[in-house]
């Protein structure tokens, strides 16, 4: 990552944060990111985040699982090694339903979880720079990149919106 100077303000409450984000959007300030200790409801639309498409990926992985299971069992029992079980037809669709369902769920969940970590730049052993250790505790943070907003305007913004603390950090 390039060495960017980040100016960030910490708020004590999510409602102060929401108001501050709203003010920043009204003033057309470019927010680098917002960090919170828990998912703050109502933040995404104000911040202008588009809806996550993770569930679409989940659907595709699930469909892949359905096809893998159903076509796999079909191929095995009709082409590769047809065995007669209790005089039933080789291609006994109702009996394939449970495994088809299980693999649909399995593929969808593994696929979605792996995708989530990959696109979020997370994973076992990954260390991402974070601005302040109290963000995972009780602080709500708005961060500006210095390229987008100079330090003086940023700190006056934070002062106006009631931030408890203002800091700068190189990332």
């Amino acid at each position: 990552m390039a060495h960017n100077k980040v100016i960030y303000g910490l708020y004590n409450d999510e409602e102060e944060l929401l108001r501050a984000v709203k003010v920043a959007k009204d003033k057309h300030l470019e927010i680098m990111d917002v960090y919170t200790p828990f998912p703050v409801h109502g933040l995404d639309p104000i911040l202008g985040l588009s809806e996550s498409r993770l569930h679409i990926a989940g659907f595709i992985y699930g469909a892949l699982g359905t096809l893998t299971a159903f076509l796999g069992m079909t191929w095995i029992f009709t082409k590769d090694w047809p065995v007669i079980f209790g005089g039933k037809p080789h291609w006994s669709v109702p009996a394939f339903i449970p495994i088809t369902f299980e693999l649909t769920v399995l593929f969808a969940s593994i696929g979605m979880v792996v995708t989530f970590y990959l696109i979020s730049g997370m994973g076992p052993g990954v260390t991402n720079d974070y601005l302040d250790p109290r963000i995972t505790d009780d602080k709500f943070c708005i961060a500006f990149d210095e390229h987008d907003l100079d330090a003086d305007s940023a700190s006056s913004f934070f002062r106006e919106t009631g931030a408890a603390e203002v800091h700068a950090k190189h990332l």
Partner: protein, 578 residues
């Protein structure tokens, strides 16, 4: 916050918590040295586990002949325990998935521990079929993979194979769901840790930062996983019941089995959650997060599912008689009045009669009765599986092959071993991970904290949109003036601390400090002593006797919630002076 909460709803977080106190309360059990009761519990659990491992080794070395299974009773304690453990696991997924979809906020207090319980219970369950197959070292033959035996594939039409797929999927999905929920909380632990401990939690937290986009994806992921885990959990016990229901054994091949097994699974699972959580909340002092409201809600689930199970037992009896089929009639006659009558009556008493006490609020909200009945239900559900399996098999179609089955010490030892395994894992879990989901508790605080709802509420929430609207108009009409004047009650509440709790600060000093903008312990903790002195000098009144030298240190302890240390410090201080 965003959802309207009726004022008659009971608070789910008590003790007037702030976000920081929540972190403090929930992370500190992982930071302190283990207590004596934990160590004793751990030693007992590991001893049981060790004996269980010895019995498993004994079984594998000498063969299944060391069990008392015979030609007539081919499934005994092994499959009984398997079904029992799988059932116990179901409560975790129900709480985390189904209650998430139903937006039940009380799930946040117990979901983490219940999901952990699911994972450990499934491990215990999977052990039994694994060793029951006899040659445990070739158990991978169950999985369909291209092989040199033909290739010979497993029988995809068999419920036993469906079970393999169901349980391995269930285990994987539960584990992913649980771990994804843990990642933000591991980050909280990481950010408080130092040294080697920080390295470990840095690894475990996957580089979590708390970015808004990550939270959005995290919530989307949780919701979809909950959506697909819901039919999954129903499918798992349905498929377990197919192991019996697709056979031609009287008493087994009934269509009532799937719903009856699923209800029984949730019933036994909640009983186990109650048993564990009542002990956990006591030992880890989590009474503010797992309240009587949580316990009562779970007791209601136990009452409903217990009653469904009771209705299923009676339906089975009625249908056996009504079918006019002598073998079916005999199977149920044998269960109730045959050689295993004691297990049938144990089952009826524990599962049908005792949960009915929970119609009474007094019992639902009594810790003693809840604990006692949760153990009774666990025993009763074990009897149910034993009745279905061993009792039914012991008297089959041919009286000449009738048999009586009782377990050997090896079978009992393996069962004991799985209980040891379960508690060993659970006890380790309480040491390494926050037992209550920190981020989720924080997200319900504003709607379910006792300062916002219930009889002791003293803070009110302005509707969001209103507040935002006010700010919006203020910002656009007078941008220079800013919005610092717009602070609603709730934020005032969380922004001001009672500074008088510190030695050397009285009401007048507090007033002066707050007038100067120092309103919280945290602000005071980072203030310079010189600055504080200047504030006092410039303030109205005579503060000659007050020395601020110890205030930042005291405030730091207060901010971090280290009240015991603060008290020690104050004992040493003289009027706030060192």
């Amino acid at each position: 916050m965003s959802h309207y909460v009726s004022p008659i709803r009971e608070p789910l977080v008590t003790g007037n918590k702030t976000y920081h106190q929540i972190t403090e309360d929930l992370v500190s059990p992982t930071e302190k040295a283990p207590t004596g009761s934990w160590i004793i519990g751990f030693i007992i659990a590991v001893s049981c586990l060790a004996f269980g491992l010895f019995c498993i080794a004994w079984t594998i070395w000498h063969g299944i002949g060391t069990w008392n299974l015979n030609r007539t009773v081919g499934w005994g304690w092994d499959i009984t325990n398997f079904v029992w453990w799988i059932g116990i696991g179901h409560a975790g997924t129900l709480i985390s998935a189904i209650l998430l979809l139903f937006r039940q906020k009380w799930r946040t207090g117990v979901n983490r521990a219940a999901e952990a319980m699911t994972i450990f219970a499934v491990i215990c369950a999977a052990l039994f079929p694994g060793i029951h197959v006899g040659r445990a070292w070739v158990v991978f033959y169950f999985f369909p993979y291209p092989n040199t035996r033909g290739p010979l594939w497993p029988n995809f039409n068999s419920p036993l194979l469906w079970d393999l797929f169901a349980i391995s999927t269930y285990f994987t999905v539960s584990l992913l769901f649980w771990y994804t929920g843990l990642v933000p909380d591991f980050a909280t632990v990481r950010d408080r840790a130092k040294g080697f401990r920080k390295k470990i939690y840095n690894f475990l937290s996957f580089g979590w930062t708390g970015s808004a986009k990550h939270w959005q994806r995290w919530e989307s992921l949780s919701l979809v996983l909950a959506g697909i885990a819901t039919p999954l959990v129903l499918s798992v016990h349905t498929i377990v019941s197919f192991d019996f229901a697709t056979s031609v054994i009287p008493g087994w091949h009934t269509t009532i089995f799937p719903p009856y097994f699923v209800a029984g699974a949730i019933f036994s699972g909640f009983a186990m959650v109650q048993t564990l959580m009542l002990v956990t909340r006591k030992i880890l002092k989590l009474e503010d997060y797992i309240t009587l409201a949580h316990i009562e809600s779970m007791n209601k689930v136990i009452l409903v599912t217990g009653t469904i199970v009771g209705v299923a037992y009676l339906t089975e009896l009625f249908i056996a008689w009504y079918s006019g089929y002598v073998y079916e009639q005999f199977a149920f006659f044998n269960r109730a009045l045959g050689p295993y009558w004691w297990s049938y009556f144990g089952m009826m008493f524990c599962n049908v009669i005792t949960p009915q006490f929970f119609w009474f609020k007094k019992f639902r909200r009594s810790i003693f009765w809840t604990f006692l009945l949760s153990i009774v239900v666990n025993i009763g559900m074990w009897f149910e599986r034993f009745v279905i399996i061993a009792t039914t098999l012991a008297r089959d179609y041919l009286p000449s092959s009738w048999s009586y089955y009782s377990p050997t010490w090896v079978e009992m030892g393996i069962y004991l071993g799985t209980i040891g395994l379960f508690f060993t894992f659970y006890l380790i879990f309480t040491r390494v991970a926050p037992v209550v989901a920190i981020a989720e508790i924080k997200s319900i605080l504003k709607s379910s904290g006792d300062q916002y709802t219930g009889p002791n509420a003293h803070a009110h929430h302005h509707d969001h949109d209103h507040a935002l609207h006010a700010v919006h108009s203020a910002a656009s009409s007078d941008a220079n003036h800013g919005t610092s004047g717009h602070v609603d009650d709730a934020s005032v509440l969380t922004m001001e601390d009672d500074l008088k709790k510190l030695e050397g600060i009285g009401p007048k000093v507090e007033q002066t400090l707050k007038a100067a903008g120092i309103k919280t312990f945290q602000q005071l903790s980072s203030a310079q002593v010189d600055d504080l002195q200047r504030i006092l000098d410039e303030g109205e009144g005579n503060f000659m006797g007050n020395s601020p030298e110890s205030w930042p240190q005291q405030a730091k302890l207060a901010y971090e919630g280290r009240w015991d240390e603060l008290k020690d410090l104050q004992d040493r201080l003289d009027g706030g002076k060192y």
